[in-house]
Subunit: 258 residues, 6 copies
């Protein structure tokens, strides 16, 4: 079984880290193939980033689907590794293989481990997106809280700072009724075991959860329903990037109209 | 990995059928061990049956845990194969291995396959129990409907009658917005493929789903949280059956006070 | 009018205490007949206990119904006196008289006395069960919180300790918006008046509430609907306890598989 | 025990009919005293009527409270007999005795008799009010539907027409999942038994239910909480009707601005 | 365009203040005509006041509609300026022009400015009414909290005390997740700008919001639906105030029956 | 006041049609400036289209903001004219002016006109997106249904076919309890008046509603909160389109991996 794992941002080092986690979770016969979008944000922290990321990841998956259709190596499932990021439903329309997003995956497994779970995430500003993503995935019912640590996606490598912030957030999660923790960012996976040891709570990593759920669906021969919401995209003209001749200008920081 | 699969009723033929389905779903290294409660109802169709079944299944699992603790063959997870039946949370308190109930399991996978799912079940009278079970498991949000077929648990072997009734129920499910079907009784598994072919919708079987989710949890080293709801049972005196000397009198049909 | 009041555990002293409360609440012509299950847990604190209790109480009620049908003294309603415990719906299927559970009863009356109520209960681990029981009874909408006192069921006789813990819990309930308190354990009834005096809030005792609601239903000639969920149990073979010849072994403390 | 029963409209014949129902439901020692507002609508069918009725009924109760305070005959509870009509919370602020509204009362008892209930009411236009009233009373969770019969409040005396329309509405209620019926107008009480016989469902009459709940609260010494929402009205200047010298002009039919 | 703005109480100074705010918000061609009910409470703080106010305001609007129908100056919309007060739906039945209540209006605009909003209001006792009003208006979904300041309606003129109390309440609103503030009393409008400056959050004033929404509806030619809930009031006999010959006795403070 | 109105697709004729509607709705001093994304789908019908559209529209708005910051013509609000399409929250982060999406705008006004509203939209497959968009905007509470007509976005010009399909959908909306209709596609605006005349229900067009709400926010000086969710995008490297040198290849119809 070959699973594509898509990073939601353009940072290849993070793709590699995600893939390592995916490989640790994968069953013996599962091959993990990591993919980095060629455009989009270097990290996704907010709705603007998330929508940009969604289009870039769908563009990436479109290419993979075309390659496979043209005789390239096939794949059997897709794991979308952006916690709280958009795009999931579009991938389900686009692809003829199961699609599992790490947000929903972590929540599904967390529900099996305790009566309520909480998400420990990076910046407070991403909490709303995660809440919405859990709601639209149908798994928000048992979410006690989404708690921010104040750490940016690219700051998660500092072990003591990360663990301290995650521990504080876990305490708030517990006070809100959580019995299980979900890591709300693919970059937090490295601290899962230590956080579990400190808090006494199971800690669910979305990438690992999504790999297992993708394996489960493929193993059972289950695929996305084409009845109703996720029919194949209608044939029509779509332009997947700006038609300018000039090379794309990377953006350092947005300069709004004020 | 060794998974115990508990039937919710005393009918051994159904345990065998459930185990066959579980084995078809299991990964190569997974051993399925089916268990039939020594007491309880011969089929579970309603709350009285369900509560009786819950106690009998917990009694059964208590015995297994004691056997394992006394040096018997260990097990790594439990699948509870009674759709909509009670007992799940008690097993989570009792056991030190993950517990997955087929009701919640089917719903978790169904959520990954379409925007809304429906449960096709046996008698209309069991709909309420299933709705409550999905709610307390945190997966009711995307359930479009629970639809009865009018077939009793022990009538599911008639192929044409079963498929006709399930097809009608599936049509009502679709009209209610469902894009994915969940089989609401372990005895319906045999008709999953034909129902999928007739309706064009993915059909999720709870036993298969639960085996894969149990494998996933064990594979990731995740276990029930002991923080909060599912602490170990408190030490106390519990009598697991009537202290009468006389053998238990099987009940043909209840004769209420009217 | 003769009302059966079932204790949820095997502790006869608690049955007696419950009956005293029931008799204080009962109208002049109402006879209260207390029943203690012959098996089950000595106190119910968690799901395992609750499911064991549910089966034992249903077994007890089955016997009462058979006795009455065989010419024994009839009864006109049943009050189930286990706060948050399971079994209610099974008794409604089984019996031809109204069934009122003390959890729902207290909540129904509490809704008439203020805009939001809270439940003050024993151990934190039982909060989830109570929340689920209120939800499935249709009265969770106005529940502001279920707050634990940390006291076990069998520790409620210490007056100063009980009142101190209940007062603290009441403060948290008020902060959560509660205007009315519900006592979340039959053993707390003895402290109802003092708690009301200390907090200035009405305090609803479930046993008293259930007796009045049972009297109301009987007085109005209303009975459980047989349409839909609560049809009579289907005739089938049910074994109500283990078929072993050996006497049941009481359990001191569970020894899970670790 | 003396219970005041307030009609929501100025039609004295309906007050009398309501009181007869209340007396049938009342326990031996309960005295029912019916009250008709001296102003307001002759029947309440819609929000304009309902708000007018609320003020008139509160004015009426204000007078009763003043009379009792001035040494008149005391009362122990109030039943507000306007199904879906406003005013309930104001009466709770105003009075030092329990207040029970027939809408909530019927729903509370209905929840004890089946898993879902429905309200069968008069005109479709009143459905929204009833839904809102159930919601704000905390008992909407188990309401499967509010179904109109198309009959006006003052048309309910025609037996065959009323029963035919109520039977049709009951069928729709059952299809929506209801297992218990609630009569959504005090004037429907006369047909309760026949409707129950025709449908096989318990039929709950709000006036009877409210009398029993009022008796229950008084019997248990429970009273409205003064903590939070329902504090006593603040002392201030209130004018309870128009200060014109001229006699009030009855309104035949409103003539809006078109 | 001529918009009637109804105060919910009899205090003319407050009508004037409300009208000033309405005029600041109004577009150039919009005429604001303030109306004070001739009866009712001098301020509305609780349900008793609110229901009394509702009837008095509907009586006022009835007069305006009759005047307009009789050839008086027409009006094009009504703004009801009682935050959390009742009456809205009755006015929609009564009038053939759009009706906007300041509670719902503020919430509608607040939803456009942030992911969650909170209401900062006067006394804690009015919180429940406001929550219910937001719910029945369909805009409660994004309300993070309704927070009381402890200030009475007639105490809002003290600048430093008002701002201090509103600032504290705003802090609690922010902690509950609010990103936008709504002023929960027409008398708070004067402090909107200072509160916005202190908190960094947008502050929505209901009177201003309602004027803009009324202008929007009139500008688009949209009017209340007559299909379903808000049909014209049925022709019937309605008495709008007590038929006594004696002048109405103002009430200083209610004297309940205790 | 200058309002930018963004089409969600690349079809300029539709931008023009949208702008005509916006101009009809706009107040005298409001300038409407229509914008068509330079990339994206030619029509948005499904999640893939919607996410592609969101990125393209944000890219477009980014350019406008940069132009304005560089001394170009400023704008005071943005109306996003894709019914049910994504992107709204990203635009709120990006821009320093109010952003109103036509989906939420129509729902906000519809709530003021009746107790429940329904959306009549194009293809059934877009219903889920619209439901999610209403939910995340906080206005789903009063949505009775989202009903598809079966018409594609580009088929709406056929008058008789469009009106027939919309009339049928309106009938289903009414049966679901709707009292107000919302047009679920910018291309349906042309049929608003005829649909209102046929159904007797108010018909709300999202573009018109959004223009009025944008005018309202600007008129009141209200702007998106920067506290919490919608902070300015963090400075980071973002690539807004594929870095290939080759011109973008338009896609005729996706060829998934099957």
């Amino acid at each position: 079984m070959r699973i594509l794992v898509t990073n939601c941002n353009t940072t290849e080092a993070m793709t590699e880290e995600i893939c390592q986690g995916a490989r640790r979770a994968a069953a013996p016969g599962t091959l993990i193939h990591g993919l980095t979008p060629s455009w989009g944000p270097e990290s996704a922290e907010g709705w603007l980033d998330s929508y940009l990321s969604a289009a870039a990841v769908l563009d990436l998956l479109r290419g993979e689907a075309e390659d496979a259709a043209a005789g390239g190596e096939p794949f059997h499932a897709v794991v979308m590794a952006g916690f709280g990021e958009h795009g999931r439903e579009g991938a389900r329309e686009l692809l003829d293989v199961p699609v599992v997003d790490i947000t929903e995956a972590a929540a599904h497994l967390a529900c099996l481990l305790g009566r309520r779970y909480a998400v420990v995430t990076t910046l407070d500003r991403t909490r709303g997106q995660i809440e919405d993503s859990l709601h639209t995935a149908g798994v928000a019912g048992h979410c006690a809280a989404v708690v921010g640590t104040g750490l940016g996606v690219l700051e998660l490598d500092d072990r003591s700072r990360s663990l301290a912030a995650m521990g504080t957030a876990a305490g708030r999660a517990r006070a809100a009724g959580a019995e299980v923790l979900v890591l709300g960012c693919a970059g937090m996976s490295q601290w899962a075991d230590e956080l579990a040891a400190r808090t006494g709570m199971p800690v669910v990593d979305g990438v690992a959860a999504a790999v297992k759920l993708a394996e489960a669906l493929v193993g059972l021969g289950l695929n996305t329903s084409r009845v109703g919401s996720y029919g194949r995209p209608l044939p029509k003209r779509r332009l997947w990037s700006r038609p300018e001749a000039a090379p794309p200008v990377p953006e350092a920081a947005p300069q709004p109209a004020d």
